[in-house]
């Protein structure tokens, strides 16, 4: 299994009493809550943490994109990937993801990804996402056309990376007379493309298509939902497209915290992971899912499942019980990962090792302890240990 450390780069100094005045840490939270001097400290600290990860034998490091919020300070993950590209030597740099379709000019991102791929000698993984619903408020892009625009932006970028230029691109949303991206990506035909999602059926079906076979990465969900969506990917490949998906196409992303004992892990993680879910992920339904963002079918599914992640007050105990996070001693977490892998067979794991207000010392302890006690065993897991779709029946 390939194990990545994922960072959100949260604004850890947020005055959490904001909840008395504002309904979300997104879109409407005034940016006067952000202190640039604190921001300077945080960005550099977070980059240090990812650089440490890269030295400790993790397969890769990962950043992502969110706009106008306190939850994640990377409106441009490309900037972070660029900063990391010269400070790391072997780790993959995974941008999971970039919302190409939020841009009026997806080609700028195609160019930037190609630059990073060339600088790093092919260590880039390009995640393509629609962006969560809140970005459609923040960036003014129409959520009702986001699926179609996402697919077209993808087609444009893949063509820009693979097809000899110059050529004209005539889409519904994008129109270019000269597509001729310099530089071309280092990896041929193009960097690996991943599709991170919180469980949109359309995205799963799109990613699993035989012409793509992109890694589907399930983020932030109770383990029963993770199982449902990862199994749906395999099912799609089998029943809809007639091929057997490789476990290399399956990924899971989850917050992870390890400490010396289960008890200690719970106590240390508690205020910070609760802050992540209750304060930074404070996001009303209308903001996560603006009208038209989900198909009618997905909207119905989401109404029943998603409220369990952001619609309720979480405690560290509910998060652990529902399998939204992994938390415990190295033995406990290793066993949980091994057991879950046996059921779901994901060959890619993204661990969120810093979350919300988790301070520098505990973050570093988490990164090191996981690297020493959990990482080797998990990296050794292969498809041989995958038992199949048994969770479905147990649900």
């Amino acid at each position: 299994m390939k194990v990545f450390a994922f960072h959100l780069m949260p604004y850890a100094y947020l005055d959490m009493s904001y909840t008395q005045k504002h309904r979300a840490a997104w879109v409407v939270l005034p940016n006067t809550y952000f202190d640039p001097k604190k921001g300077h400290e945080l960005y550099n600290r977070y980059l240090d943490e990812l650089e440490l990860v890269a030295e400790l034998g993790y397969d890769g490091i990962s950043v992502n994109e969110h706009h106008q919020n306190a939850y994640g300070l990377m409106p441009s993950p490309v900037v972070m990937a660029a900063a990391l590209s010269r400070r790391t030597k072997n780790a993959k740099i995974a941008i999971l993801g970039n919302a190409f379709c939020l841009r009026e000019h997806p080609l700028t991102l195609a160019e930037e990804h190609a630059m990073i791929d060339c600088i790093t000698g092919g260590r880039l993984i390009s995640g393509m996402v629609r962006g969560i619903g809140a970005e459609y408020y923040s960036m003014g892009v129409n959520p009702a056309i986001s699926h179609a625009r996402f697919q077209e932006a993808h087609d444009l970028v893949v063509q820009a990376w693979t097809k000899p230029g110059p050529f004209a691109f005539e889409g519904k949303f994008y129109h270019f007379e000269y597509v001729n991206v310099w530089p071309r990506p280092y990896q041929q035909p193009h960097p690996p493309i991943w599709a991170p999602s919180t469980g949109s059926t359309e995205t799963i079906e799109w990613a699993a298509h035989p012409s793509r076979r992109y890694v589907y990465l399930q983020a932030y969900s109770p383990i029963t939902s993770v199982a449902r969506y990862l199994n749906y990917y395999r099912e799609c490949a089998q029943k809809m497209y007639g091929y057997t998906a490789s476990s290399d196409q399956i990924g899971w992303s989850t917050p992870v915290y390890v400490a010396e004992t289960d008890q200690k892990a719970r106590e240390e993680a508690k205020p910070h992971i609760e802050c992540l879910f209750n304060k930074l992920l404070r996001l009303p339904f209308e903001m996560i899912f603006p009208p038209g963002y989900l198909s009618m079918k997905s909207l119905k599914n989401m109404r029943s499942h998603k409220r369990s992640v952001s619609g309720q007050e979480h405690t560290v105990d509910t998060l652990i019980e529902q399998g939204i996070m992994l938390c415990g001693s190295p033995d406990t977490v290793r066993k949980q990962l091994t057991d879950t892998h046996r059921m779901l067979g994901f060959q890619n794991l993204l661990c969120l090792l810093q979350f919300a207000t988790l301070p520098r010392d505990l973050t570093e302890k988490n990164i090191r302890l996981f690297a020493r006690e959990v990482l080797p065993a998990v990296q050794a897991l292969t498809d041989k240990e995958y038992a199949g779709m048994t969770v479905r029946a147990a649900e």
Partner: protein, 258 residues
Amino acid sequence: MRDSVIDLRGCKLHLQRAGQGEPLLFLHGAQGLSGSEPGLEALALDFDVITPDHPGFGRSEVSDIVDDVADLALFYLDLIEALDLKKVHLVGQCIGGWVALEMAIRNTARIKSLVLVGSAGLRIKGAPRADMFVCAEDDLMKLLFANGGGMAWLKSWRATPELEDIYDRNRAAAAKYSWSPRLCNPKLEHWLHRIDVPTHIVWGAQDRVIPPAYAAALKDKIKGASVATLADCAHLPHIEQPQAFAAAVTQFIRSAAR
């Protein structure tokens, strides 16, 4: 009330028709039509009221070619021809008012009069509008209704699974047509001088989605337009003040647009 489906430019358009008299085409707003709009029933006492669901709304199909309000305007000019309406009174609310404006600047040959009700379409700098999309459901109800009728109205959408689906569908379709620039065409104001039919502007005094300042701006830009402000009324006059709404429309048409 007569239901029908008309195939127009490859889109199966659902429309209802009620009453007798001169034809009146009602173009609905962001909230769409639930089928129980008392203001429209009142209008049907005097007019042949035609109420289509815009493509993607209600029981109408999504159209492959109708993507924005400019498309909707041409689509409905086609509908007027397809139904062979010679002289039609055009009444548009919210997004529907915007569509009516875009139709009227293009071609009024078959339009006899224009009524704009809490109409979208313009953007006035410095006149803030509340955002119907971002707010929570109970806040939205307070926004749409001046007198606390919102929750009962919302409940009426939960009466059947079909209506419940239509409510979600309507929100998605409204976003498609009006997300950005939000509820307006910034260039529209430059062409309103082209409107050459009697025009009446009907507005809820408590409308915060499109505040009454927009009524004044429309009056200012459309030749000979008049304004009626409805008391105790927000963004949905045809639902919240059905009698006053119908009276305003009917009196205007009888006097100015005979």
